[in-house]
Subunit: 764 residues, 2 copies
Amino acid sequence: MLNKTLTMAVAIGVSVGAGSSAWSSALDDVMKKRGLTQKDLLAAAKTYTPTGGRDEYLAFSSGGQSGQVIVYGVPSMRILKYIGVFTPEPWQGYGFDDESKAVLAQGNINGKEIKFGDTHHPAFSETNGEYNGKFLFINDKANPRIAVIDLHDFETKQIVVNPHFNNEHGGAFVTPNTDYILEAAQYPAPYENEFVPLEQFNDRYRGGVTYWSFDKEKGRIDPSQSFTVEMPPYSQDLSDAGKFVSDGWSFTNSFCSERYVGGIEKGRPPYEAGCSQKDTDFLHVVNWKKAAELFKAGKGKPVNGMDVLSMDTMVENKAMFLIPEPKSPHGIDVSPDGKYMIVSGKLDSHAYVYSFDKMMTAHDAEKYEAHDPYGIPIVSLKDALHKQVAVGLGPLHTQYDSKPCTVFTSIYVDSQVTKWNYCTGKVLDKLSIHYNIGHLVAMEGDSASPDGKYLISLNKLAIDRFNPVGPLHPQNHQLIDISGDKMELLYDMPLPLGEPHYVVAIKADKLKPAIRYKSGWNSRTDTRSKFKARAGREKTVRTCDGDNCTVEVFGTVIRSHITPETIEAEVGDKVIVHLTNLERAEDETHGFAINGTNVNLSIEPGKTASATFIADIEGVFPYYCTEFCSALHLEMEGYLLVKPKGYKDVEGKIVDGTTYSKTDYDKQVGTNHATQDVIDSVVKFITERNYTDFAPVKELVDDAVAQLGFASKWQKDSEASAKSGDYQNATLQAGQWWQYQVKAADIGLRAKTYLEEHGAVVVK
Amino acid sequence: MLNKTLTMAVAIGVSVGAGSSAWSSALDDVMKKRGLTQKDLLAAAKTYTPTGGRDEYLAFSSGGQSGQVIVYGVPSMRILKYIGVFTPEPWQGYGFDDESKAVLAQGNINGKEIKFGDTHHPAFSETNGEYNGKFLFINDKANPRIAVIDLHDFETKQIVVNPHFNNEHGGAFVTPNTDYILEAAQYPAPYENEFVPLEQFNDRYRGGVTYWSFDKEKGRIDPSQSFTVEMPPYSQDLSDAGKFVSDGWSFTNSFCSERYVGGIEKGRPPYEAGCSQKDTDFLHVVNWKKAAELFKAGKGKPVNGMDVLSMDTMVENKAMFLIPEPKSPHGIDVSPDGKYMIVSGKLDSHAYVYSFDKMMTAHDAEKYEAHDPYGIPIVSLKDALHKQVAVGLGPLHTQYDSKPCTVFTSIYVDSQVTKWNYCTGKVLDKLSIHYNIGHLVAMEGDSASPDGKYLISLNKLAIDRFNPVGPLHPQNHQLIDISGDKMELLYDMPLPLGEPHYVVAIKADKLKPAIRYKSGWNSRTDTRSKFKARAGREKTVRTCDGDNCTVEVFGTVIRSHITPETIEAEVGDKVIVHLTNLERAEDETHGFAINGTNVNLSIEPGKTASATFIADIEGVFPYYCTEFCSALHLEMEGYLLVKPKGYKDVEGKIVDGTTYSKTDYDKQVGTNHATQDVIDSVVKFITERNYTDFAPVKELVDDAVAQLGFASKWQKDSEASAKSGDYQNATLQAGQWWQYQVKAADIGLRAKTYLEEHGAVVVK
């Protein structure tokens, strides 16, 4: 009872003092009604982002088995985009237009279309260890692949298939200048695509790390310059690349270095028991610069078309060694200055801080405590360790703060975040989260200069945190304020689709995404599309090679019609539709779907997108714009007519359902002149003001001028028809003239509102 | 300059009066730093939902061409779930497990798999015009279909294909007791699947409305009891069902009653001009109860296996008439008491309020102003109209408030919401939104008793509202507080995936979603799966019919292993894997993916899910749990071994990579006893308190007890092995004993935290 009273007292939190107002009292009321504490209101103020506001950071999250990348803003925690990567997604036309199908087809395995991915660890491209905002890389655990996403347009441009591994978890990690993208195997398997019995696990199953070479000019991975470093069957896990002092080295941890093979169905203890029996696993330390030299010197052996550097070669060249690490670890994180590596294991309550200097001293002196069964030298823990710090039950992943020596470690079993000092080993703070945290991410936390400010706890369970939505729950990302000495929980964000594993966050102003493409653009190859069309130059071509005929459409879309409005084919024809979006206005995307065909395009301003299908059934198939693009959006329609083979058109004329007279024409023209008056008044408002000082308004004005140009064209046509006494067409053409006026007025009103809201002043 | 100063003054908004604290000053600092006004902070307080908080309403949004339904909370505007409906989605295993593939296959058209949908208008099941929280229905515009989603588990259970239409937009709408779900055609086409030239548009192309019969007992649509009402080729649009006085009638509006056929590629003005030329289109008024009687009396004519009631039959039976409506309308909305119908047209600045009483008086008296070209009688606007109200440029859709006679209309061109009184015709308030609003939704706004409180403006463009994320923008849903006289904008929510058209919102406490299934459940058919397995009863069966062999796995998943851990097949075998999730704990979903096979399951607690594939390639294919379910999640692994045809197993034994001695065993047992001490202390903490008063804790305790039971089983095994001197197995078994202890400890700690946070008291 006492507790309840106290809570109420806290809830009525806003001080109603001198000078306070109706506002203050309204705020009190809302807090009381919604049961908000002072702490809650402070968190609300730290995260709430008013209309038009911008987030300081953008977080890029893996989507897990949804096969996508999820983009959200920090601190508002509003999800801005799901980017299709390994899984087709129709809203963005991904895997539906021919151009993106070609990207997905790069990810086919043994000729088989793979319909999903299990994305885990995204990584930004870097320059000198700093995120440069150009590209994002992401892996697929289920079918080892890496995808390249261009941050210029947030589209997936490339997928490469790992030729050696049948599973991976530890991708993607980049070297400090994005020379290589690292992808580590997880569950060991033979490199060759052949059956090898489990009895030969130790001898024939292998792990490894693939170093994918990135062509920074082309913005694409170059498999011909990439190689794999062979490793023992230890279930390699996550990696990180060294930087500054440790540049040229990479670090990959592992679990199940017991090399246990389960078989619970045969009475053997399961993998979980056998893979967590030893106290330590192995951190793999690789000199990737040396490995790259060895590869270039031809020391690799091609397997499935890509070179493998054997363990023997690596060891002979002193390019790889091992260090014991706490068992079943998850994550290896190099300090911003490159001097320390932090590893923690879910089954050891300590975080281990390794010193790069120490491990190199031992390695250089060849001071090894032993060699593993594959002849790889082992530097002892004692010779590499800087500190061992008790951080909690189930430590998992560490992120670096902007403050010196300060880190945050996720604690799985305790469901906590521990803040600690890796120089002194002192624990500074602990914060409880809900529930069972996996990774965590700090702002620019994997870069050479972490920003601090916010930390996000990527919780793997949501349980009772949100309104229930059935047996399958959302995930929960909790935002934490780390600007002060004590961590403060700010916000719970449900993830409505996908099961994120890891997130990277970049300062938003490092990104400069395009809002339109050059006209007639193939966005997947980043070249002008050879299928582009210009306004007035649209065409449909039917060609036959014997009985095999192809109907190819070079069309356009613009508010509010598709050209052509009729596509004619015969049963069995291959139909290829290329559509170019003629819009230059921001956010004027058009879609295109044809009934019964699986044709579904998303065509952003400037883009040319294509769809190919067989018109296999006779009939009448409506098509339309799927994006609500304008007031007359529903009228953005047309028909695919699939005629019987060899059908002879019957002479006939379309009978208009409604006929128009001079009266109708005059009425429409009257409306148009009245509309023009409205437009003129808006134009006057805008041009009297300093509208050229406002970039968005300048763009709107350009768009409105274009629409008025179209209006003018139809006005001329309509006047010509009227002059010839053809009031049917004159009326319809005047209608189209008016349609363009309405679009211009719509845009003009938006510009006027913008000027009013942004303090434009009268200049003439 | 003055403006800027004023803004700053407003930004520093919290009154620091008597009794104010460090908190107040911290709040001032945050507001200043983030540029928040007093109004912003009030909006933040009205929407911010602290950890564990619940939303008052759940909104169900169509996803447009993403083919999904999006669920979000109001007022927090956090998205909770994307439900796979017409498009496969791997996170939820939708379209990947055999069970959900069967649902998607119901939506095949002419035998063709349709890989997306264009969802537009969701509708809740109703009882007496009130949402009953049982089902949600949603349409596909591109390929006319209706889906049934069960709100018990938020899964799609059924898809029906419209046999008459080739396009629709106006689905789904329900009658007040969910007897029928309405689906209206949009772009006219012949009912028969045959080519008909556009020259025969007026005679052979048709619109219509399908009335799908819903079997409330079974929770499924019954096509055999469903029928279509034939309508002219007028591009029917949205519908609404009457209620109370107007119960038994339905209302469907239309555009392009001009029956215009475009052809811009041939120099004809496009559809947008010809379809918007007349001042009015037609509201179709249908007596669906009469139509149902006619259908049952055999007055329909089967077309493609489902009955059509012809226009003649409908007119002869006085079951259908037309009323002029403002041109190019979008939405017809019946008032909560059923007495009025509001329609507005995007190209007419007025909203029209029709009186049901008036239109019925005219219809009953057969007072028609004319008949349309198809013989359908037309009641004059004058004889049906109650009010005509100037609401703004481009009015689109109306929602009802909880206050009498009060409505909100979305205004597309003006980008506003107009609040007005439909009894008096008075405009009450206007609010600007960003930008170009489509539909809007009020809480329970389509029900017989709207709740008021919140309105959501479903904006079709986001333009500059959010951080830029490339040419394809998110959509923007703006939350508006309508509890006071003036509307107040509260929140901008980006939609990261999909292009929502319409939303319905239900009081959250009407929903009682399950958190687990009965054990061994096929969630798509809602029956016990014949492929279920119980713990200890897992089996793998290989059967051959000549050369055709099938490997069928009846397995289980539980923290943290899959049974079996090895699946053996020969090249060419059909492999069928059925997995039952043995968990009863909330949110303990497991996933299952096999390399290279497209196998990807989401198995919620209790569910049995299946995957069928051909093992077409020889090799070693790891499988694993895709959901981060526990600390040892990464060890939840296994191998599919695909051997060459006729392969003879070589005699051999798995050689353990690591061997264990009595010392190892004793060490593990020591750890286990220490861990048991921790568990005992947690158990003591819990059982000393009134934990049975807390339902979530009771569930956690049940789960922990189950884990300890498993631990105990492995303890016995390990002690037996030790007794027999087999320290290799004894150690591994002791390891598994410890694994279960860790799981129990994890759960116990979660329960302890819950009790601490929820004020549990010591009772003994």
